[in-house]
Amino acid sequence: MSESVAALRGRRGPRGSLAGSVATHVVLVLGAVAMVGPFVWQLLTSLKTQTEAITAPPTLLPQRWLWSNYAEVDSALPFLQQLANSAVMAGVRTVGQLVLCSLAAYAFARLRFPGRNLLFALFLSVLMVPSQLLILPQYEIIVSLGLLNTLPALVLPGLFSAFGTFLLRQFFLTIPDEIEEAALLDGAGRLRIFWSVMLPMVKPALAALAVITLMNAWNDLLWPLVVNTDPSVLPISAGLTTLQGQYSTNYPVLMAGSLLASIPMIVVYLVLQRQFVQGIALSGSKG
């Protein structure tokens, strides 16, 4: 298809040669194997017996597909509970950021109030500080709120984002004034305008912020390790590290657990590919 189009446009130079095309595919396929191969090996190992996993030289396929390794993960960890904890942590942070950041972003972009620039500069200054720097005092705050080993501890600091506010503000700035004026003339209040007029216009930015926040929250490890130790309130990222402690040499169980824990985000990605790509193009930051 695309080749015939290129031919019609008279653009088929040496770049279109068959040999070149085959060579390109060979390199790209080798690269793809390096990228995805580890997951295939993870899956195959997760279905083997322990003895089979540690035979040398390794065998490719399991003799018998041993799904019980997956059940083993759930008895070693409160696995489903930890998956749910991850979902709560990622979900609340994402929804919270979308609501809170968009409100602030709208005010910074479209409303005028004394101290606006100073406040915005303070917001921006937060972006410069690496997250590790904040962890000790953040931990002390969680302690003094009596929230150690709770779900709110997982959610809290990540609920507020200078980055999200900054990203959305840039989008609100691009909306022409006339649209908002028209709504004001119609007698709509600020909140109403924000909700029914402005928010729908920055949907792509909201979607991008949502996927980036969701992924960062799901992957977060350092913060949960610091505030929670009770297995029942750990997210799966931190839970897996404890699985590694208990089953340090039971590779099939380790692979089953790590595969299960990565699947939700991979599925989200495959469903929302466009938003992910857009999120990266827009943000250029992974948090």
């Binding site: 080749e3 290129a6 653009r11 130079g13 770049r15 095309s21 390109t24 790209l28 793809a32 990228m35 580890p38 997951f39 090996w41 993870q42 540690i54 950041c101 602030a104 005010a107 409303l111 005028r112 109030f113 004394p114 406040l119 937060v126 500080v129 690496p130 590790q132 720097l133 904040l134 962890i135 000790l136 005092p137 953040q138 705050i141 609920l159 507020f160 984002s161 004026e181 004001l184 003339l185 992924m215 490890l221 350092l222 990222s237 897996l240 590290t241 590694q244 340090s248 590779y251 790590s258 595969l259 824990a261 990565s262 991979i266 590919q273 990266i280 193009a281 250029g284 930051s285 992974k286």
Partner: protein, 315 residues
């Protein structure tokens, strides 16, 4: 309430001295109410902690919160520690290995940009998967691949008669082994940026060069790369900031036990910080380490911005 007349003046006549309707008390209140939730959250959980860390890096953390001012002693303690300099050196190595992601991603982006290539969307999706994978899980899989006795990598090498090693337990290879996984996990992210960058290069430029007899390599180095330089600059800045903060992969692959012979050889500034703050409970020195990291990130970013004038071309 605002009148119709006032409202129509909005925005277009901002510069006029007449009081803007938005300056009314009620609008101000609305604005503050909109900003307050995030603003207070950032104040409590980000701005206050930043200041507190700075102050605490000059104090000794006593039991029961009794902190005493000790000047620069946390910093002098840290600078006298061999483990700190090892961690700092390792972190710079992680950063340098991590930068390999830029040429790798450019190479793949250039290949994917080949005219008439099929399956671009599939390749792009596959290359992106490691980036969305939980880093803890990736670390566990790679640790298994790197396993000295039963790992797939050693089995593969033995086919060619190459002796393997305990990749993440051997102090000579562990850092590189982790760095490779870091690059593997990040390629998809940079790939997307470079694909967009290459797409933005007008085909006419490349075709004109081709008509003038420039070969593929010449076109790459004389046209594609210079026009891509803003993206390359952006990616090196982001990559440096990110790998200077590397933690998850090291924690999972090499530091699950202090018995790992490569424990020190893989230590980064952030893993050292974590160990000081939450394992050894020497919080004062930990905050000093965190500040050194921030200064390092700021300095390397500033240097890159300064250097960009010499090689980045904005057309």
């Amino acid at each position: 309430m605002t009148t119709v007349e006032d409202a129509t003046r909005t925005a277009a006549v901002d510069h006029r001295p007449r009081r803007h309707w938005l300056d009314s008390g009620r609008s101000r209140l609305t604005a503050y109410l909109f900003v307050a939730p995030v603003g207070l959250g950032l104040l409590v959980f980000y701005l206050y902690p930043a200041v507190a860390t700075f102050v605490l890096s000059f104090t000794e953390w006593g039991p029961f919160g009794g902190n005493t001012f000790t000047g620069l002693s946390n910093y002098t303690t840290v600078f006298a520690l061999d483990t700190f300099w090892t961690a700092l050196g390792n972190t710079v190595l992680y950063m340098l290995i991590g930068l390999a992601v830029v040429p790798v991603a450019i190479a793949i982006a250039v290949l994917l940009n080949r005219e008439g290539l099929r399956g671009v969307a599939v390749y792009r999706a596959l290359y992106f998967i490691p980036f969305v994978t939980l880093p803890v899980a990736s670390g566990m899989v790679w640790k298994w691949l790197y396993n000295g006795d039963y790992g797939l990598i050693n089995a593969f090498l033995s086919v060619f008669g190459i002796p393997g090693t305990y990749w993440v337990a051997n102090p000579g290879t562990a850092l590189l082994a982790i760095g490779v996984v870091q690059v593997w996990s990040q390629v998809g992210y940079y790939l997307i940026i470079f694909i967009a960058g290459i797409k933005a290069i007008p085909r006419d430029y490349l075709e004109a060069a081709e008509l003038d007899g420039a070969g593929p390599l010449r076109r790459l180095f004389s046209i594609t790369l210079p026009l891509l330089s803003p993206s390359i600059f952006f990616c090196t800045v982001i990559s440096v900031i990110n790998t200077l903060q590397i933690f998850d992969l090291i924690y999972v692959m090499a530091q699950s036990s202090t018995a790992n012979p490569a424990f020190n050889a893989t230590q980064s500034v952030v893993t050292l910080f974590y160990q000081m703050a939450f394992v050894e409970n020497t919080k004062g020195t930990a905050t000093a380490v965190a500040f050194v990291l921030m200064v390092l990130i700021a300095a390397l970013t500033a240097i890159q911005f300064w250097l960009q004038r010499k090689w980045v071309s904005y057309v």
